[in-house]
Symmetry: C2
């Protein structure tokens, strides 16, 4: 286990950056292919979840109904309750209590989510992401075409 | 676009299997690293989402409260509403109408989710996965230690 606060298998951290590049490529390929057999480690689980969330947010309606807004609140409420990494979840619970999901539009939701990701980036000493909507649209929906 | 039913960027399918292996490794690495800049294609979005869901399900409580059960129902209700790939979502909506989320325990939820994934595997001509709980625990939580 690589996290002193957590003894669940999900807390073990794959030290990707320190692997030699050949092994790293193989590892990355295995992680994405359907033949991969090992449970996700915390950093991969986090990466997949953020990718999934940002993509989902950028396809959220521009003008969601009240029912859709409630469903989106419920979605993040469930993530905060069931996210498999315990202490990541504890951080997220505190963070969204201070910063409730902004569900009134695709733009608001996408920017809000980017800011939550930046809160985690800051905690991990990672770079801040540019959360302008133009940048988010490009990054998660329209870029690379 | 590689899907005649869908003209959104998320419907474009990365033809990973036909890429040469060197390019494939590079591509896979880029997809997982934080330096990756392109929006997710449908198959990667699907892969990340299934990985996220199976991991979350295998850490669900063995004896969830009524409130937790409702939150988990809400979670899948939101996935069915907001999943970014439109026709994947339409399939999932029909599937969970016939097969509502089994939220009474970690075991029931994990097996139910595996069966939903197998419904998609069948649709895509992929192999069926062994949905025994022993296998799911190993695959998503305890294996490779």
């Amino acid at each position: 286990m690589s996290d002193k606060n957590c003894f669940e298998p999900i807390c073990e951290k794959e030290d990707i950056l320190n692997l030699k590049s050949k092994k790293r490529s193989k590892l990355q390929f295995e992680e994405d292919s359907s033949t991969q057999e090992c449970p996700l480690k915390r950093n991969i689980y986090g990466n997949y979840t953020w990718n999934m969330l940002h993509t989902t947010a950028i396809y959220y309606p521009d003008e969601p109904t009240q029912e859709q807004q409630q469903k989106m609140r419920n979605f993040f409420d469930a993530i905060a309750e069931f996210y498999a990494c315990k202490h990541c979840k504890a951080h997220f619970q505190k963070d969204i209590l201070k910063n409730p999901p902004q569900v009134t539009s695709r733009k608001d939701l996408s920017i809000w989510l980017c800011q939550r990701h930046n809160d985690v980036n800051q905690l991990l000493g990672k770079q801040q992401f540019d959360c302008s909507f133009e940048n988010l649209e490009k990054r998660w929906r329209t870029g690379c075409q």
